[in-house]
């Protein structure tokens, strides 16, 4: 994998002078600086960002990309971004939630540089925010789980139950219930995004309690998916669709972020001088969220049903449409009301059918 990437880099280097006069000039069309919170090869969040950057690099000729991995969500990130600007970066992509305030502060003092940040809310003329509309897309994973599970029980390993994670769990359960009205989703909270021993024990516990489909919202899905595979139950991934390689037998499908088109478009806007900071939340319709390729064990009728669900969500359907009860039986969304994408961080209740507590 790595060797192939290195090889392609070397080939690209030698191919550069052949690519015509547009690329022959010394000065790149645009220098982009990208910072990652973790390792860009984690089969999860960072890998998805990295894949998007690679697509942008391919699509925009003459692009120079500066990358820094393991950039903490501290003032250190501001120093890294400053250094990138000093090296000529005119577009900065800060890809982790906690990079927000540091990127925004830098954006204030550097109006000539454009910034985009993943998952926040701050906006300036030269500072935009982008993220996938994950919650509605999780509905599709739920449909897949509901159709594949024999026991009618899924296990969900959650890092920390913040509103967005709860929303993902809820949409998953609602999707599963749409095809199996008795479906249960059991949630186990590990209390961290990367405590691998607990993730392993949580995955095992969920299988012990009868779940035959596992899914997760933690930094890297590798441990949960491999334990599901070892114990012969199904798995559904999140964040990077490449995780399917970890479970050749039990992989059903998963949701991945597809940042490439957005990043490409942003780079083109900056080159053209038309960039304006805005809030971008896109889902399955705009292909910022994509449904991963199916595993071999998934029969055609299920694939068709999952595609149909994805089309429904892409067509504007939201699973958070009243009447909706929480798992204590109280009505949370009344008939005729819906929750939209901007409210997803506010969840503090699980829908009916989820076994677990938020606090």
């Amino acid at each position: 994998m790595n060797a192939m990437r290195t090889l392609s880099c070397i080939l690209a280097f030698f191919a550069l002078p052949l690519a015509g006069p547009a690329l022959a000039q010394d000065k790149p069309a645009l220098t982009v600086g990208v910072i990652y919170i973790g390792n860009a090869n984690d089969y999860g969040y960072n890998r998805a960002m990295k894949d998007g950057v690679e697509e942008m690099r391919k699509n925009v000729p003459g692009l120079k990309v500066l990358e820094a991995e393991n950039v903490p969500e501290t003032a250190e990130s501001e120093r890294v971004m400053s250094a990138m600007i000093a090296q000529g970066a005119k577009l900065i992509m800060a890809t982790s939630f906690g990079h927000q305030e540091f990127a925004e502060r830098l954006a204030r003092s550097r109006p000539e540089v454009s910034f985009v940040h993943a998952g926040g809310w701050m906006l300036r003329p030269n500072f935009g925010t982008f993220f996938g509309a994950t919650q509605t897309a999780w509905y599709v994973s739920g449909v897949a789980a509901g159709l594949m599970s024999k026991a009618g029980k899924a296990g969900f390993v959650a890092g920390v139950p913040i509103g967005y994670v709860i929303g993902n769990v809820n949409a998953f359960e609602l999707g599963a219930r749409s095809v199996n009205p008795k479906f249960q989703t059991r949630v186990v909270v590990t209390g961290g995004w990367s405590d691998k021993v607990k993730e392993a024990a949580a995955a095992n516990a969920l299988i012990d309690q009868g779940a035959d489909v596992l899914t997760m919202h933690v930094d890297s899905p590798a441990t949960v998916i491999q334990i599901a595979e070892n114990r012969g139950v199904y798995s559904i991934g999140f964040q990077s669709i490449e995780a399917r390689q970890l479970a050749p037998k039990g992989w059903i499908t998963g949701l991945g972020f597809n940042w490439g088109p957005y990043m490409t478009e942003t780079a083109r806007q900056v080159i053209a001088g038309t960039f304006k900071g805005s809030m971008v939340r896109q889902g399955l319709a705009e292909k910022m969220m994509v449904v991963a390729p199916f595993g071999d064990s998934v029969p055609q009728p299920v694939r068709d049903a999952v595609h149909a669900a994805a089309d429904k969500v892409a067509g504007g359907f939201t699973p958070f449409t009243g009447p909706l009860k929480d798992n204590s039986g109280a009505i949370q969304i009344y008939t005729g009301k819906t929750m939209d994408n901007s409210q997803m961080g506010q969840f503090n209740w699980y829908v009916e059918g989820v076994i677990g507590r938020v606090r």
Binding site: V197, N204, D208
Partner: protein, 302 residues
């Protein structure tokens, strides 16, 4: 229902307890020689990263185990030099070792994060229960855990080497007068403890998580230090301690999975509350059992 809970918790306590036990055994040896090593967490991480790297490169997890043991011992050399040769403050040196381990492991592990590695071969023992059937996964390191405990116990209590090592931990000046080589014994103890922590890291990476992720040991190095006191520096009691802590962690996750109506935040605290509650119980007796010269740099002449 209850049967599943009990069996599954026992099975999971073995999985989580094995790495704790190895780290605790190593720390017992080091502390018996008078050296307290707060950097176990960093050493475990170094072992986990080296284990993943070697397994990924060679395709054989047993090379990974060997690499983890060597990495654990190697990184501990720095610590041993500081505290044994230079008489540095052991607490400060241990914490430095922790951060060194964090950094080194991140560096070693970087290319292998997310790499597909084949973990230690294991045998699955299934409980004949109706639900998902709890599985006890037995690998080589689980099998060797009790023999290793016996070996450490025997070496410490029944050999000349163990007697001298303990003498150094109790009263280095007297031990020196009796002809013990304090420096060599403490080096041996610290390196052995490093190797054991490396092994603990290897078990987490290669038999539990099947991957490398930064900081993946999640504080277990510190739990091992607490377990040493809980076990009163006795290897056999460490087995009980490791199983109880591993079991408490497994139990709270099992309870969450079973749908018990208790806050997940409260349940995540359970293992640590248990550890805190157990320590005062061993308080007075613990002080008596502690090696008398534990943590004190040797100031005498040699």
């Amino acid at each position: 229902m209850i049967a599943v809970l009990i069996v599954a918790t026992l099975a999971a306590s073995v999985a989580a307890g094995t790495s704790l036990l190895y780290a605790t055994l190593g720390e017992i040896v080091a502390e018996r020689a008078g050296v307290i090593n707060l950097g176990l967490e960093g050493v475990m991480l170094a072992g986990a990263a080296a284990g993943c790297a070697a397994t990924s490169v060679t395709g054989n997890p047993y090379w990974g185990v060997l690499a983890a043991v060597l990495a654990g011992a190697a990184i501990s050399v720095v610590f041993a030099y500081a505290v044994v040769d230079c008489g540095a403050n052991q607490l400060a040196a241990g914490l430095s070792l922790l951060f060194l381990g964090l950094g080194v492991s991140a560096l070693i592990g970087r290319p292998y994060s997310g790499a597909i590695i084949h973990g230690l071969p294991s045998m699955s023992l299934r409980a004949p229960l109706e639900q998902g059937a709890a599985v006890l996964s037995v690998d080589a390191l689980v099998l060797l855990a009790l023999p290793a405990t016996a070996l450490v116990w025997w070496a410490l209590s029944a050999t000349r080497w163990g007697l001298r090592l303990r003498a150094v931990g109790e009263n280095p000046a007297a031990a020196f007068a009796a002809g013990c080589n304090r420096r060599r014994l403490q080096y041996q103890a610290v390196l052995l403890s490093g190797a054991c922590s490396g092994l603990a890291g290897a078990h987490i990476a290669l038999a539990v998580a099947f991957t490398w992720a930064e900081g993946m040991t999640g504080g277990r190095g510190f739990i091992a230090i607490a377990l040493v006191m809980f076990a009163r520096w006795n290897p056999w009691a460490a087995v009980a301690g490791a199983l109880v802590f591993g079991g408490a962690e497994a139990l709270q996750l099992q309870l969450q999975a079973s749908g018990l109506d208790v806050s997940p935040f409260l349940m995540n605290m359970l293992p640590y509350v248990l550890t805190l509650a157990a320590l005062p119980l061993t308080g007075r007796a613990g002080r008596l059992a502690a090696p008398a010269a534990l943590g004190r740099p040797y100031t005498g002449v040699e």
